[in-house]
């Protein structure tokens, strides 16, 4: 059904090579005219492989998960499969009508009404006009927006907007569905509805490729999974095995990638768990190390860490402040104690702000597991596993 063979994608690197203005291009030609012609030079200096040697096969009716850290090449792979960008090498053969959902609401126009946007978005996703007509009632019922059908979508609440957008996408009937993490939007109930819909599609015998950070969703929806890391295929097989490899890889506990910052003078060069805290046991404090590279002194910095469980709920928001981070390289240690998190898989979102301005906001910077070590057994009811519990996990003192 989908046959991926030796796919690679090479991107050009860095600002110095991308010419955003004609002047730059001309200047560059003038200065490096000859040297640029040397193919070896060019490859070494200016390119990097976002994907390399990716091969796998998906059979008809199968649901496959694609997992990996941010920047591992998941989205690039999905973009190649949806023909948005061509591969640099390799070949993909597939059979059947393909629909790709890289985000919900692609092409929505704020000035147009809900009704008009259903048609526009449907056409963009590849639905025929008569197909949209036939499913129109179902779509508005799913989105629960019938009262606002003729209101411009710019007046919609963000929840309504997302519901409408997903409703259109949910009524596509492709043979192959490519889904990126569209579920990261909307409230928990809506996310559940979306997951349910994708599960339905997968069970109805259609082929689904599902890119996600949400391990619980990947495990419940897919039978096999692909694990990518730095553009390479690390593991390809049964979802359970691949997910556990993903969670066990020590490298996942360190984020060395330079994070995007809204201020060019401020950057986070490294963010990781304290070496001793790779697998925090039950209620063991989390210790993080964070390194900065600043062009000048920064005052009154707020640091927020959010801890998110495997179905995307923010369980903990922890805030700390520091008066001064000196310019140059510096280093801070952060600790969160008494979190009472139940055993399970979690991800960390890092936010750094100054006054009301957000400097850094990065989701899924770290992934970790709270083991059930140290949970006092008598606390548990035997038929419910510790992992299935949400929220705080608090021992009780009983006295007479």
């Amino acid at each position: 059904m989908i046959h991926v063979e030796g796919i690679g994608k090479r991107y050009r690197l860095g600002k110095s090579i991308r010419h955003d203005t004609l002047r730059d291009a001309i200047m560059h030609r003038a200065r490096f005219g000859r040297r640029r012609q040397n193919p070896i030079d060019r490859q070494a200096e200016e390119h990097f492989w976002a994907l390399k040697d990716i091969s796998f096969d998906v059979t008809e009716g199968e649901a496959v998960g694609i997992i990996g850290r941010n920047g591992s090449g998941k989205s690039t792979l999905l973009k190649i499969l949806s023909r948005i960008t061509p591969p640099t090498e390799g070949v993909i053969r597939l059979r059947g009508r393909v629909a790709s959902l890289l985000e919900v609401g692609t092409g929505f126009h704020p000035e147009l009404s809900g009704r008009e946007n259903i048609y526009l978005n449907g056409a963009i996703l590849g639905m025929r006009c008569q197909e949209i007509n036939a499913k129109f009632d179902e779509i508005i019922a799913f989105a629960e927006i019938d009262k606002f059908l003729d209101t411009p979508v710019k007046r919609y609440s963000s929840g309504m907007y997302v519901r409408l957008a997903f409703a259109v996408a949910a009524h596509l009937e492709p043979q192959i569905l490519l889904v990126d993490e569209v579920l990261a939007v909307g409230d928990a109930e809506f996310q559940k509805k979306c997951l349910g819909k994708i599960g339905e599609v997968a069970k109805s015998g259609r082929t689904v490729l599902f890119v996600s950070h949400n391990m619980a969703a990947v495990q419940s929806l897919t039978s096999r999974a692909v694990l990518l890391s730095d553009g390479h295929l690390v593991e390809w097989g049964r979802t359970e095995n691949v997910v556990s490899t993903y969670l066990q890889r020590a490298s996942e506990y360190v984020s060395t990638r330079r994070m995007k910052s809204n201020d060019p003078e401020f950057s986070v060069s490294r963010f990781e768990f304290d070496a001793d805290a790779f697998k925090p046991g039950f209620n063991a404090p989390f210790r993080f190390d964070i390194s900065f590279e600043l062009d000048r002194d920064f005052h009154s910095i707020n640091i927020v860490i959010e801890i998110i469980n495997s179905i995307g709920s923010r369980l903990i928001t922890s805030r700390g402040a520091i008066n001064l981070i000196p310019g140059g390289k510096s280093h801070l240690s952060l600790q969160i104690s008494d979190h009472h998190l139940p055993p399970g898989d979690y991800s960390v979102t890092l936010a750094i702000g100054r006054n009301r301005r957000m400097l850094v906001y990065e989701e899924n910077v770290l992934l970790f597991e709270v083991s059930s070590e140290g949970v006092s057994e008598p606390l548990l009811m035997p038929q419910i596993e510790a992992r299935d519990r949400l929220g705080a996990f608090i021992p009780m003192k009983v006295s007479t």
Partner: protein
């Protein structure tokens, strides 16, 4: 997604060679094309008080200014046609062309969100962008009818087919130049900065405020290299049937338009591979 591709094998591989325009695929996506045009048209005058009246005001006010400056003060010749209707007949195809060209040039960057999220033949974007100004042209034509009545100018039989042909030709030119510029604008945003300036120069290089007969006869062929020369002169001749038909102008201009149209399409297809990565 076309019905015929339903069970055919699709191969995704690195692009090679020149590539082709892919007419079959363009046809398969005709509904999306239609929806994009419809969106541009219906969004155009949303939340403006005068709404569709803007389509009348722009050419009307420009015509009045031209009449005062070039007709009354500079007293430019007009091949014997009253200046207001002379300049209005030039403005109609010109405004259609210049608006189409500007919209097409900026279209790829404006639709960045679509380009990076979904697959469809990219040529649809600049082509759809050129069609919304057609509605303005039709609305503004009503003023032309009133003026013809006022100046007692009867259209000839030729007008019926020549006028639509000239509009089609202006469109072909806008698509041809627009595909070139829109593809370049993806890589060099200078093009977007350049376009208002280019349109301004092009206006005075075209026979909008003056007749083509003002250009010395031995420079006529050079003048005709501007495709809009032929379009505008042809449009006027179709209306007023004044003097001999502008055969030479039309022949040279049509050829230049055709060259832009074909090379624009090929250039666009060549560049389109990396649009999503660069835009």
């Amino acid at each position: 997604m076309s019905a015929e591709s339903r069970d055919a094998e699709m191969v995704i591989a690195p692009p090679s060679g020149l590539g082709s325009i892919g007419f079959k695929e363009l046809w398969a996506y005709r509904e999306l094309f239609g929806f994009l045009v419809w969106r541009d048209v219906s969004v155009r005058y949303k939340q403006s008080v005068l709404g569709i009246l803007w389509a009348l005001l722009t050419p009307l006010v420009t015509m009045v200014i031209f009449t005062i400056i070039f007709g009354r003060i500079a007293k430019l010749p007009t091949d014997g046609i009253p200046y207001p209707i002379f300049s209005y007949a030039g403005l109609l195809p010109w405004l259609f062309f210049s608006q189409s060209l500007q919209k097409a040039t900026l279209s790829m960057v404006a639709e960045r969100n679509l380009l990076t999220k979904i697959y469809f033949p990219r040529l649809i974007v600049p082509m759809a962008a050129t069609l919304a100004p057609l509605v303005d042209l039709l609305i503004a034509s009503s003023v032309l009818l009133v003026m013809m009545f006022y100046y007692q100018i009867a259209p000839t039989v030729h007008s019926l087919y020549l006028l639509p042909l000239c509009v089609l030709w202006a469109w072909v030119t806008a698509v041809g130049v627009g595909t070139w510029l829109s593809a370049l604008n993806v890589y060099f945003r200078d093009v977007g900065q350049l376009i208002p300036f280019l349109v301004q120069i092009w206006l005075y290089a075209s026979p909008v405020v003056y007749p083509a007969s003002l250009v010395p006869s031995h420079f006529q062929w050079l003048y005709a290299l501007n495709p809009m020369t032929g379009v505008i002169e042809g449009f006027r001749w179709a209306l007023f049937a004044h003097g001999d038909p502008p055969d030479l102008l039309v022949f040279v201009s049509v050829s230049v338009s055709a060259v832009f149209f074909v090379t624009g399409g090929l250039f666009f297809k060549r560049m389109e591979r990396s649009f999503a990565d660069v835009v």
